[in-house]
């Protein structure tokens, strides 16, 4: 009877030396260090059990104050409106671009002019929010370029509409990037086939393209909204008009070092961002399921 083993001879492998769980902990260490601990401190601060001067003892006072504050609720409302509004407007601008790019051949996508256009479209991603705020001032501030052309633009940067435009510029590449990938993965033959079967362009979009893109659209928008919700640089530059919640967070620190109140607002902001991402994921899964059951 043969005694040889059928399995391949085993050498000493990295995975044999380091157990899987240990490798996982090692990989998660930076995340734990930079996310979990500071978040825990923030939460502790917000309940008065954190680090001084937010260490007076457990209390819900800071949350009571935040929910009762008109300034906070106004800033929170503005933040939500600006985040969702800017992402929705960006989506409206991005969809035709990605659908058009999705139809291009790989060769055309690699052409120098197309590549330059893609870089330009992605540029806001590389710019800090503070620079985007500066762009808004230069263009539609009180002495901005467009204000010189038409007086109505003068000071537009400091009203809600101006803030929204600046955040659209901020959110645009964050919506464009993931959706471009999703649209490029769509098989152009699907839309072509639908057209030959008698469907109008609108019908093809509604019944083929959109259902297939919808999960990616929802998830992308949710993530971009979460990022816009926490964006500080742009609103810091344009702070004299509309107030957004990140500005309140910093204000609580810079004017009187109210660490517990600042932490409370930061926790609310973080919860909003996490909720946006979680709801997005949930809706995206729901959309996938609904589309597959259509």
């Amino acid at each position: 009877m043969p005694t040889g083993s059928l399995s391949a001879p085993r050498g000493l492998r990295f995975g044999d030396v380091l157990p899987g769980a240990f490798v996982l902990v090692l990989a998660l260490a930076p995340v734990l260090l930079f996310s979990v601990y500071p978040v825990a401190v923030l939460v502790a601060n917000s309940f008065g059990v954190g680090i001084a001067p937010a260490s007076g003892g457990f209390t819900l006072e800071h949350y009571d104050r935040a929910f009762a504050s008109k300034s906070v609720s106004s800033a929170l409302g503005n933040s939500v409106l600006v985040a969702i509004g800017s992402v929705c407007i960006s989506l409206g601008l991005v969809l035709p671009i990605v659908l058009r790019q999705g139809k291009r051949s790989a060769a055309r996508r690699e052409r120098a002019s197309a590549s330059a256009a893609d870089t330009l479209l992605a540029l806001p991603m590389a710019l800090p929010g503070i620079i985007i705020g500066f762009f808004a001032i230069v263009l539609v501030g009180r002495t901005g370029l467009l204000g010189l052309i038409w007086e109505g633009f003068s000071g537009f940067a400091y009203v809600f509409g101006g803030m929204l435009v600046a955040y659209v510029y901020f959110s645009f590449p964050r919506v464009l990037g993931p959706l471009r990938g999703a649209a490029a993965a769509l098989d152009p033959a699907l839309a072509e086939c639908a057209r030959t079967l008698g469907a109008s362009r609108v019908r093809v979009f509604a019944t083929v393209t959109l259902p297939m893109l919808l999960p990616a659209v929802i998830e992308t928008c949710a993530t971009a909204s979460a990022v816009a919700l926490g964006g500080y640089g742009t609103v810091a530059t344009l702070s004299e008009g509309v107030r957004l919640l990140p500005l309140n967070v910093v204000n609580e620190l810079t004017t009187g070092y109210r660490l517990a109140d600042s932490s409370t607002l930061a926790v609310l902001l973080a919860l909003g961002a996490v909720a946006a991402i979680a709801v997005g994921r949930l809706l995206s899964r729901g959309a996938k399921w609904a589309v597959s059951r259509a």
Partner: protein, 361 residues
Amino acid sequence: MTIVPESLAAHAGLLIERATVRYGGTVAAGEITLDVAPGETVALVGPSGCGKSTTLRAVAGLVPLSEGRIAIRGLDVTRAAPPSRGVGLVPQNYALFPHMSVAANIAYGMRARRVPATKRQRTVDGLLELTSLGHLADRRPDQLSGGQRQRVALARALAVEPSVLLLDEPMAALDPQLRGGLRRELAELLRAADSATLLVTHDQREALALGQRIAVLREGRIVQFGTARELWNDPADALVADFLAGSRLLDAHLDGEHAVLFDGRWRVPLDGLVKRTSAHGRTRVLMRPESLMIVGDAPRDQTALDAEVTHTEFVGEALHITLEAAGTVLTIRTPADVGVPRHVRVAVRPGHASLLIGSPN
């Protein structure tokens, strides 16, 4: 010849007249002229990049023509949008809508054309039965095999009762083992439909099996268009001979009782050749793999040719031998149990090669 409206109107199927498609400065399809009658299948064959899929896409309205015209059922559709052409397209990857069931895929075109629900359901049921997909009506495309997906794509295209059915490499995505059976199924389904069918393929067996007529394309132009038998027996040039039948077309001239090839190095007795009149000018000898035999004891005269074996391939019941003789590559099929030395003498197997006698222009 310039097409005139009367000739457009007279054709009940598909008529393509001098159709040219350019991508920038490149001519992807040039001056393509062919017709397909209702109920007929025409196969477009040729090597990759020869313009066959471009021609198909032009008929579907997915790429614009630079020149020429396309008529379907007597109507000029050259500038018509894809939805109004009356075509049914089966793309190479079938392009089934992944988020819809088999039944919804089949019904898609009818919904788009606002066909009443009762008629729609009747048609879907009929096509499910025709394609033997009834038990899979609620399945998603990703739950189907390649052959089943092919049948769904075909049923979806047939559901809109197209005047012209366009099939782009319908077997290319299938395992080679499945193709034989599915080719027969496809032939049955095409027979059941009354559409003019344009089939793009690079598989000569598929073209011969499914196409009543075949158009061979090279570099965007039609090299030859005719019935399968015409192309088989009288190929216009070496490409058609090689592509369709794996044959060699050798220039020859007649000298008494012999056809003389390779500048006199090979003299093939005429009584061993099947004589046919060619519509393509020059006199040539058509050599198929079964036209040649190895002759070990042949007399050292010019009726046999010295050749060097460059490759031997065992294909089960036979050996495919590639030879080089007089600077030309020839192929020969011999019984599998024959030993093949490196240097051989070959002669024409009587009655198995054709002499295509050129008609004077």
